[in-house]
Assembly symmetry: C2
């Protein structure tokens, strides 16, 4: 085989590996697991990308938490400034009443610092993971996955500013400090807050292909960065 032909085959294989789509049935039902003190963009960044995906692919999203009713951004302890930057969303299902899910997204936020506050989400992740096609965490949501034990032996990343807090929960996790997002098998973990959008866009590319992902990115006017294109780990002294 000539060098040019080998290069073409390698190029095609690389394109297939990085630009999807994968074969097989596509995920449709996507849950987002809430708790008091979730980070606004950890939840609504992915929702925006999924909104764009929903224009061309049949999907459903469900907001779920322990109790149903409502869920608020407001942290358990007030800001020192006495600022009130809260917002409250309606929850669609409880963990007990949620329909079967293909995908679960777990956000982070100040609420992850309180073990009792997130214990129901930790238990839910541990229980539901075996039946999921994909599990995605944003930001300090990785601490919930780590506490549920589903990251053991896997590569993962998380919020760079909260690195020490999150990684204490995953002694058996292969934490990646220089990453915007990481895929290991069917689990996608992302760096802090905004990185959730890049991670979900990367996941959309993996599942539905780069044409769909690029369309969603452009609708959002999102300046996408790649899985390894991280500058915040360095800023926070992690590498």
């Amino acid at each position: 085989m000539k060098v040019a032909a080998i290069a073409a085959v390698l190029s095609a294989a690389l394109a297939a590996a990085t630009n999807g789509p994968i074969d097989g049935p596509k995920p449709r039902d996507i849950g987002i697991a809430l708790f008091r003190g979730w980070q606004p963009m950890d939840v609504f960044g992915p929702i925006e990308a999924l909104w764009g995906l929903g224009l061309s692919q049949p999907i459903n999203i469900y907001l779920i938490d322990e109790d149903g009713g409502t869920s608020e951004i407001k942290p358990l302890t007030p800001f020192a400034t006495n600022s009130n930057t809260s917002a409250t969303v309606l929850v669609d299902y409880t963990f007990a009443s949620a329909p079967p899910l293909d995908v679960l997204i777990v956000p982070g936020g100040a609420g992850t610092r309180n073990q009792a506050n997130v214990q129901p989400v930790i238990d839910y992740v541990a229980a539901v993971y075996p039946s999921l096609q994909y599990l995605i965490s944003v930001c300090t949501g990785a601490s919930i996955l780590a506490r549920a034990g589903v990251l053991d032996g896997k590569r993962a990343t998380t919020n760079k500013r909260s690195w020490a807090f999150v990684t204490q929960f995953g002694q058996r996790v292969r934490w990646q400090p220089k990453a915007r997002y990481v895929r290991d098998r069917n689990i996608w973990t992302t760096s802090g807050i905004s990185a959730g959008v890049d991670g979900v866009l990367g996941w959309i590319e993996y599942v539905w292909g780069s044409n769909v992902s690029t369309e969603v990115t452009n609708v959002m006017e999102w300046n996408k960065v790649g899985a390894n294109d991280d500058k915040f780990g360095k800023l926070y002294g992690l590498w």
Copy 2:
């Protein structure tokens, strides 16, 4: 004056002009005007930035709309895919009951395409603008500002994919196709969806200075782009 001294003075003046903070009282009470069919990140991208601002500065945010109660992302007409990517938030005040505001943020979204759906917001913007310190629009929210007449004679920008739709409402507006966001006097308009975060971060820099803005940007792990750093206008053939 020596050349080096002149350069130092010019440099200091330029730094003051671009890195703030401005003098005078800082805004504190920030309203976000909703309608059915708002874009998720148009609202929660700015909320995330304001959440970060609230860690160091005393601010309050209020979600307001015509009726109070709840407000949902869900557009007036269903997606062709039968996707359901909706979410619903609790509203804090009606336009009639809202407290005095220093700042109003007006998001865009599919709901702006229906005149009756956004007429209450248009009327509210026209009524409240004279009492505001700042008015900020995200994405097709600029069409609401244009319909309220407050952009007449001013420079402004908007969503690049929806350029023709929005600009039809502002014949007397000096629309800027190559811009991530634009400030003219006390009105800040931003390009599509994600650009709202860059615009709000630019506004935070203007009001509170670059130290505060950079801190918020880094907490968000946001890859910030500047006011003139736009690639989507070109993508959509506007320049």
